[in-house]
């Protein structure tokens, strides 16, 4: 952490040549007033739009609330109902499938292409930028509309597959396949984790590779014995972030299924079902409970990844934390 030992406001006569921070025995005066002045917007936002709403949301999750009449206390009924709610269980399953397939593929693509780009050659910057571009476009309605058309019946994918004699029809119309275009859409955006991997690769000391080469290690061996262990903290970071992101995916599923999560709830991602419960059915209490379950699941998975990190994340000696 950098020093913030700026002297107090009333200027002391510049008696000593020593910088203020080095002067021995100098009383550090608290900057409580300016500190809170600078933090005022953040404090209002955090109390009024984050912490306050969290408390309200927790309360609402124990009520029956439709936005128009007063919330009615129902205890744990909302949470209990989730276990009987088939659509809830379906949406949890769909989201889990989406995360379990999408995240590893996305990270594998990100790591593979990062290795490809991790060299000093002309053109690296252009490729890096081009591969990153989908990450900026992927969340837009425009791209979701493109996906919708690409995977529609008789669309580009369908026709290409027909050419190879595979007849599955439109992915988006088939409950067995409708989720895969969404998975592909998230894998398509591998550029963001790729850039993080590239930054991590740059941090690996070159002399490690030199000694490996001296010891006669091949490429595969070098990758598994040096690159992967040295990169594991970055991999860990990306993994946590991607899992959290995949539980919050909304726009593509909404646009491609026209807001329904169909066909047959096969693209009913968790966020989409929560939105439907809150803003289509006005089950605000139930939706709040769903939000808390989501937090619990994300926390649990993050914790599990953290715990397992001890086994597979390697921190080099000098920056062990």
């Amino acid at each position: 952490m950098s020093q913030a030992t700026a002297p107090p406001r009333p200027m002391p006569p510049p008696s000593g040549a020593l910088p203020a921070a080095q002067r021995p025995g100098r009383r550090r005066r608290s900057q409580a007033l300016p500190g809170h002045v600078f933090l005022t917007p953040w404090l209002i936002g955090t109390l009024g739009l984050t912490l306050g709403p969290m408390v309200i949301s927790l309360y609402l999750s124990f009520t029956d609330y439709d936005l128009f009449s007063r919330p009615r206390w129902v205890g744990l009924a909302n949470y209990r109902y989730m276990l009987e709610d088939d659509r809830f269980l379906t949406s949890a399953g769909v989201t889990l499938k989406y995360a379990l397939i999408g995240t590893p593929l996305k990270l594998a693509a990100a790591l593979g292409v990062a290795l490809l780009l991790n060299r000093a050659r002309r053109g690296v910057g252009v490729y890096r930028a081009a591969f990153y571009a989908p990450s900026l476009l992927g969340a837009s309605v425009s791209v979701a509309l493109v996906w919708r058309a690409l995977f529609a019946t008789d669309g580009a994918t369908d026709r290409s597959l027909q050419f190879f004699g595979v007849h599955v029809g439109g992915f988006t119309d088939n409950p067995d396949y409708a989720l895969y275009p969404l998975v592909l859409l998230t894998v398509w955006q591998f550029g963001a984790p790729m850039v993080v991997f590239l930054a991590g690769l740059k941090q690996i000391p070159k002399d490690l590779y030199e000694s490996a080469a001296l010891d006669g290690a091949g490429r595969v061996r070098t990758f598994f014995s040096i690159t992967l262990p040295m990169l594991s903290p970055v991999l860990f970071f990306n993994l946590v972030l991607e899992i959290i992101h995949s539980f919050q995916a909304f726009t593509p599923a909404f646009v491609i299924s026209g807001g329904t999560g169909g066909p047959s709830d096969s693209t009913l991602l968790y966020s989409l079902y929560l939105y439907q419960q809150a803003f289509a059915s006005f089950h605000m209490g139930y939706a709040s409970a769903m939000a808390w379950v989501l937090l619990a699941v994300i926390a649990l998975i993050t914790y599990a990844v953290f715990r397992s990190a001890r086994l597979w994340v390697f921190y080099a000696q000098e920056d062990a934390s």
């Binding site: 300016p34 917007p41 739009l49 726009t251």
Partner: protein, 299 residues
């Protein structure tokens, strides 16, 4: 895969110099070829969108060839006329308003908060900072419904305030964190020199730190703009009157229409919607990628 591990040093091969040079050239070409192929695959959906915007409605789905049979630039004039009586300019202006408010709000409130976190000393700072970091990973769903209730009580649902006001309250912790990291990288001697010259924290912030924050502010601006421009979730919740609709909501109205007749104009409008994002990207791509590298921000 032909990926060599990160070592840029040429393999110590006993082959004669000319042959190894030839191999290096060949490898470079293979590498470029692989990269170009990946690039084409990745950009295919964007190219598809571009060509579809010049096709007639029936052709969009059925014609696999990128070249339209019937070149239909009329899609664009139809897109400019808009959708359901909303002109493109209205949608565009509304989107611009939301994004502009978001950018100004984020830049101001996040640099103010970041300065306090990075430079000022006072009791509670550590706690506040931990709180800020804690909100980084919080799913927005948690606050969604109470926030909606609050904005409804304040009579703001249907206006742009629920989309813009939170940004003036530094609710996007990502950007606070980004600016904090940046300020920490500035030499502390600057503040000390300013203090010796008689600057208090306010003037130090305004005259010393703020001018140096330019790179962090540019990064915040780009991401704030692109994220709010692409945002759909909060807009679909808070904007109810068609007159207030943004481009994203306008595009979505096409979806509710049946038939392929509107496909051409829909994709023309999609292209026009992406143009500002692409312009920002092309202008600032290096800063963007660096911003992702230093903070792990997602696109």
């Amino acid at each position: 895969m032909t990926t060599t591990a990160a070592s840029p040093a040429p393999a110590p091969s006993p082959a004669p110099a000319s042959a190894s040079a030839e191999r290096t050239v060949l490898r470079t070409w293979v590498w470029h070829a692989v990269c170009v192929v990946i690039g084409l695959v990745l950009l295919y959906p964007v190219l598809w969108l571009l060509t579809a915007s010049f096709k007639s409605g029936e052709e969009v789905i059925s014609n696999l060839s990128p070249i339209p049979k019937v070149f239909t630039p009329g899609n664009y004039s139809q897109a400019v006329d808009g959708v359901s009586g909303l002109s493109l300019w209205r949608l565009f202006g509304n989107s611009l308003l939301v994004s502009f408010g978001t950018v100004v709000g984020n830049v101001l409130s996040c640099s103010l908060a970041a300065y306090a976190f990075a430079r000022l000393r006072f009791r509670g700072r550590g706690l506040y900072f931990a709180l800020m970091i804690g909100t980084l990973m919080l799913p927005a769903h948690l606050m969604l419904i109470p926030q909606y209730v609050i904005f409804q009580e304040l009579g703001m649902v249907g206006t742009y305030l629920p989309l813009i006001l939170p940004k003036f309250l530094a609710t996007e912790a990502f950007f606070v964190f980004l600016v904090v990291q940046f300020i920490r990288s500035l030499p502390a001697e600057l503040d000390q020199a300013a203090a010796i010259d008689g600057c208090g924290p306010y003037r130090t912030f305004w005259h010393v730190i703020m001018p140096l924050l330019k790179p962090a502010i540019v990064t915040t601006t780009i991401f704030s703009f692109i994220w709010s421009w692409n945002d759909f979730f909060s807009q679909v919740i808070y904007l109810v009157e068609p007159q207030t609709y943004t481009l994203q909501l306008g595009l979505r109205m096409f979806v509710d229409m049946d038939g392929s007749a509107m496909f051409g104009p829909m994709f023309a409008m999609s292209v026009l919607t992406l143009v500002p994002v692409l312009l920002f990207f092309l202008a600032f791509q290096r800063l963007l990628v660096e911003g992702v590298q230093t903070t792990g921000l997602k696109g």
